[in-house]
Symmetry: C2
């Protein structure tokens, strides 16, 4: 793999909160920046705002060309005119998470008063910290109550945290392909990725920016490993099966020594090498750690229902049959807790063979489910 | 992680075949060594021999203390006096696979006429090559027909290859938790491991032995990733859940920066760091590649039944409910092909929440199934 240069610094749309944020870990950030994008128009009553929460490697470029990759927005099948999150009707907001690397305060940000980035010394953030930064943005935009908060995977964790912490600010909550805690298996896969980053010779103890380099190979291995967990066995079999292709001439010696390679290997290597051009290794560590530590029930005396007792929020939980990273059982468990809490909850399991990534893909049943639920909520909200 | 010294060279019990072996890739090895262990006594009729085929990271030390790790044999719950593979009754043989690193010819072996090991230049071997080396050993031991050939995971691939290539030399074949081809998902996980090895600064293009080092961190990451696939989500949840422990003082700075660690992380790191003391990275590449290329149906015109048409062998297929690496569907598919071929086949799915590793663990139903099937075969074989 070629050495990849440090990430570009792009002028992301953002807001700076100069009064800072006290993190759950005890560290107070003196000021925070929240980078975000919006789509559609906020109505006069400020009642049509939908907050989209992105997943581990997502960002705020939901429904427009990505400024680094040049690819379409990661949810442009969901967010846009006439789509389930109809931008002719809703004001859609998405913020880069705290700890991320696309403009919000994170390990790539310069330390206050210094001309060096936080890097590995960036304090650990939690899902709750991410949500608190988003809440500041929402208040800044003059919105007291969000019509909906929606997100898949880690985005769904944020949705649950929003509903638990700010029930009166969330009319509808849609955690998609998510869970109320990160499982031992999920933590284990994250740990493999982290160890791959630590093992990279360009890691430099997390201070790779000082050496003008990045731990590209380790981060690529982390991405490859994670990517497998986002797909189902059936999806991999359907897309690639056991088809061979000639090893690319640009591949490293070690690869070509094996002669032909399987298409699935080439695909994963591509996933790894393109990822490192847009993502920061320290941000990857920070965000995976936030997911690992997420356990909403544990924060409420061990009973998830306690987090939602008396909640006025309307919930839609969605899972996908072939998602083995955030399996249906975890959404079902949340639905049971919400029922015990007396909350208003719908739960839909969508048949799909696309694995966890189904929430990002063209799944008509899923899209119809979202549109239908939001239409019903809009009636109740008198939108 | 501390730098781990190169593997010890141990005096393994072995036989040398000075007439060599022509590999499927076209390379002829001028001579081959097969390291092996036996348990029990070969009877006068030479009719009570059972060949055990080991898995990817297994070796010939089936039922005795391992000479490097000091741990019990990897199948000492199965092989021994009064156990399913009863060494009071059967003569049990296990050979280190061709391409391995415990005494059989492989990347750690010296190149003929040179004082340097093959390393990365060791030719690719196939499951069939491994079986052909084992066949040489069996002939050397004066055994015309094996009472049984048994193995789990990659061992099961060898069992299938044995039954396909030498039907008259295999009275009973027991492929456990295995498949007739390696799936795209399994290839993908192997590729993550290989890329982690290639990314290690001590990889040295596969010539790490010349630098007196080993790519310990990359190999450890490969092992960690693979190890997750050997367990079920339920097993990880039961064994570790989300329990935290203090970060060990010996851990690298990057780990301790996160404060507490999850028990599952500590466990995986231990699995990785102990593995590199007993396993060679080039052997890991060679063997994972052999598994990836295994596709028994493709070698028989695309129809697995063709491989077994007219087979006199009695088959027992065993799968485990929570094994997602070699799921029941793959054993069932083999059973269907064997039925179409008119072969004598039993198929048992064992309920277990222990994942792929169940075949190595204390699973009474599994052990009873093996014992029962072998007892029946012994009657038919007039043993």
């Amino acid at each position: 793999m070629d050495q990849t240069p440090p990430l570009q610094d792009l002028p992301h749309q953002h807001v700076v909160f100069t009064d800072g944020l006290a993190l759950e870990c005890g560290v107070a950030l003196a000021e925070i920046t929240v980078a975000y994008r919006t789509y559609g128009t906020l109505n006069a009553a400020r009642s049509n705002a939908v907050l989209v929460c992105h997943a581990l490697t997502g960002d705020q470029y939901v429904a427009e060309t990505h400024p680094i990759t040049g690819k379409p927005g990661w949810w442009d099948a969901i967010v846009g005119p006439g789509l389930p999150l109809d931008t002719d009707r809703f004001f859609v907001i998405c913020a880069n998470v705290l700890g991320g690397c696309m403009g919000s305060t994170g390990p790539r940000s310069l330390r206050p008063g210094l001309d060096t980035p936080w890097g590995i010394e960036f304090p650990p953030v939690t899902i709750r910290d991410m949500v608190r930064a988003q809440k500041r943005l929402i208040e800044h935009l003059g919105i007291a109550r969000l019509f909906a908060v929606i997100g898949g995977s880690m985005g769904g964790m944020q949705v649950l945290q929003w509903a638990a912490d700010y029930p009166d600010a969330v009319f509808a909550a849609l955690p998609i392909a998510s869970a109320a805690y990160h499982s031992a298996q999920n933590i284990a896969f994250h740990e493999v990725g982290r160890q791959a980053i630590f093992a990279d010779p360009e890691w430099h103890g997390g201070r790779y920016w000082a050496a003008g380099t990045i731990p590209a190979r380790g981060l690529a291995v982390a991405r490859m490993c994670a990517h497998i967990t986002y797909l189902s066995e059936q999806a991999l079999a359907r897309k690639f099966g056991r088809r061979l292709q000639g090893a690319p001439k640009t591949a490293g010696e070690a690869i070509s020594l094996f002669g032909d390679m399987f298409e699935v290997e080439s695909y994963l290597q591509h996933q790894g090498s393109t990822f490192v051009r847009r993502f920061d290794a320290n941000a990857y560590l920070t965000i995976t750690r936030a997911m690992d530590y997420f356990d909403l029930a544990a924060d409420h005396g061990g009973d998830l229902a306690t987090a939602f007792r008396g909640s006025p929020t309307r919930f839609l939980l969605v899972s996908f049959t072939s998602d083995w990273l955030f399996p249906t059982a975890e959404s079902r468990s949340i639905a049971r807790s919400l029922n015990r809490a007396g909350a208003n909850v719908s739960f839909v399991e969508i048949p799909s063979d696309k694995g966890h990534d189904a929430f990002l893909l063209d799944e008509p049943d899923f899209h119809r489910t979202l549109a239908g639920f939001l239409a019903g909520c809009a009636v109740h909200a008198k939108l």
